[in-house]
Symmetry: C2
Subunit: 397 residues, 2 copies
């Protein structure tokens, strides 16, 4: 008989996907250029020429049996080595090859990191607002996800709530900075305080607490900002990365886990991840794509459009009177809705062909997310529409 759990999941459609499908359907009616679709976090700039050239030359020049051969179960050594060196160069870390495990994007990275450092029944904490897919990612490991309420002041960590929830059943803490959906970047002060709390609680409870740091937006930073690299501040850190956003390769499913060399059992965690793969059918990302990204590790697509769009939207939102925290990176912004019910707010916006995502699924009520990975021209055209929407629907604010 078919599996009841997965059958039941068919009912619960993602609100983001539903809105995105609505936007596409509406676009078929009135022309997609007339739909201000802020629903999906899909990169809007092409991958680098370096990546394309690397793929082509690998296929033209490399022995096809080597290019397309099985990866070792711990993934391709030369690629792991190149990733380690790139991270050491960029973040002053001390990784070697054995700390790197290549994965099918950040989803694959989180699947391995979570399984490696939790047992069924353990608790994993994350912080609102959070990426809704964390729920199936964590539940898929048989651990339980609990969500620390947001600090809506600035979307840094709500430490008083965190300390209350960080009981002895918590074996891992999952952070995402730069953050989807808020766009904020954890400050060095936040990361240091987080590390201090975790160190203290590890001692108090007599067991390790791993920090799982989900970092697909690491390279999309605004205002000349540098983001602190969380693993530098806390030894028991597994950094989970995807090239989806930095190289605009979301469909290629390529990323990695980087195990802090000072983490407990750092010498065996990657070998364990290779074992985890056997049970999930992961079995290494594509060999040719591992080899291609290894040649362009320090490149990024031209990410400047996201900052241009953020500035336009942020200024417009502030001018219209929205409460909004200025994003430090990503391609998201997370303003407060103009009524308590964010769903009602976003439903009203839909009438103006403004596709906004209500915040409830991100673990906060009363906000909405705009994914501004769209053409700047469209962002500009959307601003008068946003103004009209606000002035018409909320005339007495």
């Amino acid at each position: 008989m078919i599996n009841e759990k997965y059958k039941a999941m068919l009912g619960g459609k993602s609100i983001i996907r539903e809105l995105s499908e609505y936007a596409t359907a509406r676009g078929n009616e009135i022309g997609y250029e007339n739909v201000f679709d802020y629903s999906l976090g899909n990169p809007s700039v092409p991958c680098t020429k370096g990546y394309t050239d690397a793929v082509i030359s690998l296929h033209q020049e490399m022995n096809p049996m080597a290019l397309h051969g099985y990866s070792p179960s711990t993934t391709i050594p030369s690629v792991r080595q190149a990733v380690a060196e790139s991270l050491n160069r960029r973040f002053g870390m001390d990784y070697s090859m054995e700390h790197i495990f290549m994965t099918t994007g950040a989803a694959g990275a989180l699947a391995h990191a979570l399984r490696a450092v939790t047992q069924p029944g353990d608790v994993v904490l994350t912080f609102a607002p959070f990426f809704p897919e964390y729920t199936p990612y964590v539940e898929g490991t048989q651990a339980n996800l609990r969500v620390v309420p947001a600090n809506v002041e600035d979307f840094q960590i709500n430490f008083s709530a965190f300390e209350k929830m960080l009981d002895e059943n918590v074996m891992a803490v999952l952070i995402n900075t730069p953050n989807n959906p808020s766009g904020i970047v954890y400050s060095e002060e936040t990361i240091k305080k987080l590390a201090e709390v975790l160190e203290r609680k590890q001692k108090e409870y007599g067991h390790d607490i791993f920090l799982i740091s989900d970092e697909p937006y690491r390279e999309i930073l605004f205002d000349g900002r540098k983001a602190p690299y969380p693993s530098k501040y806390y030894s028991n850190t597994l950094s989970c990365y995807s090239f989806s956003k930095s190289l605009s390769l979301p469909g290629e499913r390529i990323g990695y886990v980087a195990v802090n060399p000072k983490a407990v059992d750092a010498d065996i965690l990657v070998a364990m991840m290779a074992q985890i793969s056997r049970g999930t059918g992961h079995n290494c990302p594509s060999s040719s794509i591992q080899l291609a990204v290894a040649e362009v590790l320090d490149e990024t697509s031209d990410l400047s459009v996201y900052e241009t769009n953020m500035n336009l939207l942020y200024d417009a939102l502030v001018e219209l009177g929205f409460e909004v925290v200025r994003p430090g990176g990503t391609f998201y912004i997370f303003p407060k809705a103009l009524e308590a019910d964010a769903n009602a707010f976003c439903m009203k916006a839909k009438k103006y062909d403004l596709i906004l995502v209500p915040s409830d699924n991100f673990g906060v009520t009363g906000y909405f997310r705009m994914a501004y990975c769209i053409d700047t021209e469209k962002v500009k055209r959307s601003i008068p529409v946003l103004k009209k929407f606000v002035e018409t629907e909320y005339p007495n604010r």
Copy 2:
């Protein structure tokens, strides 16, 4: 704390991998050309020019945002459509797009198929000799794998043992034809009888029993043979495929599940697989590789070397007095060892730099596997060595 289960798995190294590592190390000592390495099932012929050209032209000509964009959660529609049409053309099936789910190779396909049609605690039956990775594949789903003893006569199905083990807790039966490690192909008679038993037991127990058919060797057939397509004979069939062997792309991790259109819940199984992906971190195979294989679905690499090698080895083994069933396909042969303890037999062979894999891990004692996906020239050179080994170690047979 790190996960105890995966840590414990670190001890249990695959005998195949151990032997392969030994062969590599020994090759470093005496030259790899002098090691007759029959350990690993790694294709020894290059992928097709068609595949390479498809990858290059996709990267030269297609919009990179479309080429590298997220796949829909049920994978790329045009690719699913092309796979359905290819299977319909080749096997007289009636698939449409919604029955096809693209996966990261056969491992990914089995991970989804098994999860879709079992609940934790269910029993999955397979037949010895079997691919040892079926154990972690099935255990990863929380179902239990039980192995029906081999029919050593011809390595078709041992039906009397099968019927005894097919109790009401069995929710899925996992077959692999052409078979790793025996190289045999299930006859039409075997498949028909299997279907008849399953139909009868479904009625008797009042629940569905799914057939999961693992078919990565489907295109490697000898003696002009055609293999029956199992799904044609039994409605509740999920066919799991990989392009690893037919196109020599094992490292690219690309394959699919094809759900028989007449299967129970055929209309929702693929959507369920998309849900399963969320919990395992699978999230679709690489987009560019999905698109590339879709252009060469009816191609294969030049697979004739495997038949050449099989003939050389089969004749030599028969002449040396081995009991051996003639393979109908794959690149494996599975002779009876010359003593009851296959491990001892293979250890003795190692002294002659003949790397043979003992059968115990495949669920049968007293046999050994040779993976003859190596150069024909090397197969030829190995035959006098095999002769010397047999005559020296087993002089009084």
